[in-house]
């Protein structure tokens, strides 16, 4: 493992655009999705390497139950992410963090803050189910431009 305190390239991880998302449930958006690109040094890992996800939207904390993660068509809650070993996030691969918002959010610029706690248990194919190891916190913040047109990301 490298020296220092940083285990990622933060610049460029958080996408600068976002989109309201549609589901198969109906014609109205159900939330807003923000792109996040895997730029971790420990790049290839099961999703359960992420131990927690926290967000703020327009300086307002988002409730944990309103946060979900979308990767390769798999849509998971934060609690599901923590337990996942069969789905891997690869270096440079783009995922989406989704904030549930009935009707979506207004198109235009929004402030986003994202925190991810990543495990310091580095035996790659296994995850720290009992949170025995400390975590490192990745903190990203930026302005995202929510597009006018929603996308059907959720099946």
């Amino acid at each position: 493992m490298p020296i220092g305190t940083v285990s990622w390239i933060a610049e460029g991880m958080l996408g600068d655009s976002a989109m309201n998302v549609l589901s198969n449930a109906g014609p109205e958006p159900v939330g807003v999705a923000i792109e996040i690109r895997n730029q971790f040094f420990h790049g290839s890992h099961p999703l359960g390497w992420l131990r927690d996800i926290r967000m703020q939207l327009d300086e307002t904390p988002v409730a944990r139950l309103e946060i979900s993660f979308l990767l390769d068509g798999h849509h998971l809650t934060v609690d599901q992410v923590r337990q996942t070993t069969g789905l891997w996030w690869q270096p440079r691969q783009v995922a989406h963090v989704i904030i549930a918002r009935p009707g979506g959010v207004a198109p235009g610029t929004h402030a986003v803050e994202l925190e991810m706690d990543v495990s310091t248990f580095f035996f790659t194919p296994e995850i720290d189910r009992n949170d025995s190891y400390p975590t490192m916190t990745l903190r990203l913040e930026g302005a995202v431009d929510v597009r006018t047109r929603p996308e059907r990301l959720l099946r």
């Binding site: 020296i3 305190t5 940083v6 285990s7 040094f41 069969g86 310091t120």
Partner: protein, 290 residues
């Protein structure tokens, strides 16, 4: 004696993660340096946990196209943590998969890390677990023709330090289970560099080992990891006693391969320095001892 010198693609990790280079371009740049071997990183393989066959094929094709050999394969490991979290059997299965992957690339070495024993595991138990793991995987290592190397990069650690890992290697006493001493364990203190490590920010950089420790390690170290952070005009790095350590390798009657790793691109070190030129200078410095 120095036999082969490889360059770890870690010098380009910032370029890869930022999208400025892909792995094939890194191999091409490495070949243009006159380097003949590289180390394959876990992150190149699209593991899940098995490598993507297309990815392996593309990597092997890229190596062939550029005339590069794979000297070693490196996997993030915490063997002791994995045993505690799962079992010896489960951990050994993962490591055997790594051995098979390494053999697929025709690489000589699989490099892993012992890790630190969890708080509830005694030193004696941890040592026993390590020996049990290596006892499990050594026959498959021999079958694959791959030498297991314990990367030892922390000056003070029960099993991640060169001397701690050497103790295990000596006890196990097999040509298939060896030590990979990392120059990091010999890094001199510096106010301009981080003195903590990502995997354990609570631990401050311990006092460096000395040359006699390195000489002791060489007996069990067919592969040496030469790390560079701040490369000077002659390719040396004043943070490490590189001249002394490489002279010991050169003058040792045993054959040794050296994996060169440039890490100065890290955001907290010298992100503005051209990593390609720095890596090239580091390689030239090491090869001057060959």
């Amino acid at each position: 004696m120095i036999r082969h010198v490889s360059l770890s693609p870690w010098w380009a990790e910032g370029e890869i993660l930022s999208g400025r280079m892909d792995v094939e371009e890194v191999f091409e740049a490495t070949a243009r340096m006159g380097v003949t071997a590289v180390d394959i990183q876990e992150a190149f393989l699209d593991l899940s946990p098995h490598p993507d066959p297309r990815t392996v094929h593309k990597l092997r094709s890229a190596l062939a196209r550029t005339g590069l050999a794979a000297l070693s394969c490196w996997f993030y490991s915490d063997v002791l943590g994995a045993v505690a979290a799962t079992s010896i059997d489960a951990t050994a299965c993962h490591l055997e998969r790594y051995l098979a992957i390494t053999a697929q690339f025709g690489a000589r070495y699989l490099v892993i890390q012992n890790g630190e024993p969890p708080a509830e595991v005694t030193h004696q138990r941890a040592r026993s677990n390590l020996l049990a793991i290596y006892d499990r995987i050594a026959p498959f290592a021999e079958e694959c023709g791959v030498v297991v190397g314990m990367e030892a990069a922390r000056a003070a650690s029960a099993f991640n330090s060169p001397l701690g890992a050497l103790d295990v290697v000596d006890q196990f006493d097999s040509p298939w289970v060896t030590l990979v001493p990392d120059f990091e364990a010999w890094r001199l203190p510096s106010e301009s560099l981080p003195n903590v490590y990502v995997e354990n920010p609570q631990m401050k950089q311990p006092d460096p080992l000395d040359a006699s420790d390195f000489e002791r390690c060489l007996v069990r170290a067919p592969l040496v990891h030469a790390k560079f952070l701040q490369v000077g005009p002659d390719g040396s790095d004043a943070n490490y006693p590189g001249h002394e350590l490489l002279a010991l390798v050169r003058d040792d009657p045993g054959e040794h391969d050296i994996s060169v790793e440039y890490e100065g691109w890290l955001p907290e070190i010298l992100p503005q320095q051209d990593p390609l030129r720095a890596a090239q200078a580091a390689v030239a410095f090491v090869r001057s001892f060959a």
